[in-house]
């Protein structure tokens, strides 16, 4: 049972990819997260639709509503990747094999893919069903959607890791996430409003700066503190 010669040195990237692929394949097989999330998005938009009634709402308010839907969809689905590991008891299996930073990266990748997919659907549904929602500067809107979704995934993944180790996971997730996501939400709502107004791309520069630095800051902190959360 001496050390094998053919498997090479451990590669961090391979570990991270293995974690991502594990979650990806698991999701493909069981389809828990995606179906629940899509139903949630559909339901929330339906509620907004009925709440607005025939009058609709000004574009500024609709911009906020879009991100409300996106926020709650995120809260409904982004904690799964850590919570299921704890609930099934497989967290230890990962702790045994993969380095913590690889676990975090793999799961972040999964959440990013999930968020991009779900938000795209949410936006399309919004355009389709909500009257009065229009975007005049598409470039601002697309960049905002991308940066906002990325920031949401980055923060939510870290908070998900934290609440997975706690008791009342479901309700705790939005409670912990909302205050910390607020700067992101305010910036993306403002930027979406600019897009609705038809502002020039450069006018949203301030918001983009905030979003990019937010993502950078949270990502950095995540890598620094994840060990303390993940390891028992």
């Amino acid at each position: 049972m001496s050390a094998p010669v053919h498997t090479g040195r451990p590669s961090w990237i391979r570990s991270a990819l293995a974690v991502f692929l594990k979650d990806w394949n698991s999701e493909l097989r069981t389809r828990y997260a995606v179906s629940a999330l899509l139903m949630f998005v559909l339901t929330t938009i339906a509620i907004v639709l009925f709440a607005l009634g025939t009058e609709g709402a000004p574009p500024h308010a609709l911009a906020g509503m879009l991100w409300v839907v996106i926020f709650f969809s995120g809260m409904s689905g982004l904690a799964r990747i850590f919570v299921t590991e704890e609930e099934r008891g497989t967290a230890m299996t990962l702790q045994l094999t993969a380095p913590p930073s690889a676990v975090y990266t793999g799961k972040l990748l999964f959440n990013l893919v999930l968020v991009y997919a779900v938000n795209t659907v949410a936006v399309l549904l919004f355009f389709f069903f909500i009257q009065g929602f229009e975007v005049r500067t598409v470039s601002i809107f697309l960049v905002t959607l991308f940066l906002g979704s990325t920031g949401l995934a980055v923060m939510a993944t870290l908070i998900a890791a934290i609440i997975a180790k706690a008791n009342t996971k479901g309700t705790l997730f939005p409670v912990l996430s909302f205050p910390l996501l607020l700067p992101l939400l305010l910036a993306v709502i403002k930027a979406t409003q600019l897009a609705a107004e038809g502002a020039f791309f450069a006018e949203a520069g301030g918001e983009f700066q905030i979003l990019i630095s937010y993502i950078g800051a949270v990502l950095t902190v995540s890598y620094l503190v994840f060990d303390y959360v993940w390891k028992d």
Binding site: M1, T7, S15, L21, T30, T97, A98
Partner: protein, 206 residues
């Protein structure tokens, strides 16, 4: 490869599980951990596996004087009732993950051979959710051995196994004892005939 534990102490919610556990192991050595139910055997095994942090003390893996190259996970295999598998994946997929999660290149040939050895080859493409507890235990052995770890930790090694399975485990233990480090935690002293060091967690509080 050497495994050294110095003054390990674990406190859990203000209750001392055990204190001052020390041992030193090198290749060819076997450690036996005994103790009543609830005495902390599995906890100690988890600490040595670097899956749980001790409250005080340390466990170090050294290779030729300095710390081991790469993560400890590379040199360690664990079989434990607490180790859970993924219901939706097959045995072959688990063995693929056993390598890739550790950052190693998959070894399909080695995996097949190992599955054959633990008696799971015919069921290798069935998801684990269809397995009996005995089969899951066998898969745990394959999962722990594929990357040929220098250190093997077995917590309740014979649980859920039939006579054939027990024979397989004895073979594994003999091989590991010959060229690596073996740690066995059990209540049943017939599991292990020879050992070099022993930690008995019954000592101390009655």
């Amino acid at each position: 490869m050497k495994v050294e534990a110095r003054g390990i102490r674990k406190v859990f919610n203000r209750r001392v599980i055990f204190r001052d556990v020390s041992f030193s192991l090198e290749e060819g050595k076997v450690l036996l951990v005994t103790g009543r139910n609830g005495s902390g055997k599995s906890t100690l095994v988890k600490i040595v596996s670097h899956v749980l942090s001790p409250t005080a003390g340390s466990v170090t893996f050294t290779d030729g004087g300095g710390p081991v190259k790469g993560a400890v996970a590379r040199h360690l295999g664990l079989v434990s009732p607490y180790l859970q598998l993924y219901d939706e994946f097959t045995a072959s997929e688990h063995l693929d993950m056993a390598m890739t999660l550790r950052g190693l290149r998959p070894d399909p040939a080695g995996a097949d051979a190992l599955l054959e050895r633990v008696g799971l080859f015919p069921r290798r493409n069935d998801p684990v959710r269809t397995y009996s507890s005995g089969m899951k235990q066998r898969l745990k052995y394959a999962f722990a051995l594929l990357h040929r770890p220098a250190v093997l930790l077995l917590d309740e090694p014979m649980s859920n196994l039939d006579a054939e399975g027990i024979g397989m485990v004895r073979g594994v233990m003999d091989e590991q004892r010959a060229a690596g480090i073996l740690v066995v935690a059990t209540n049943d002293l017939t599991d292990l005939e020879r050992y070099d060091e022993r930690v008995d967690l019954n000592g101390g509080k009655p």
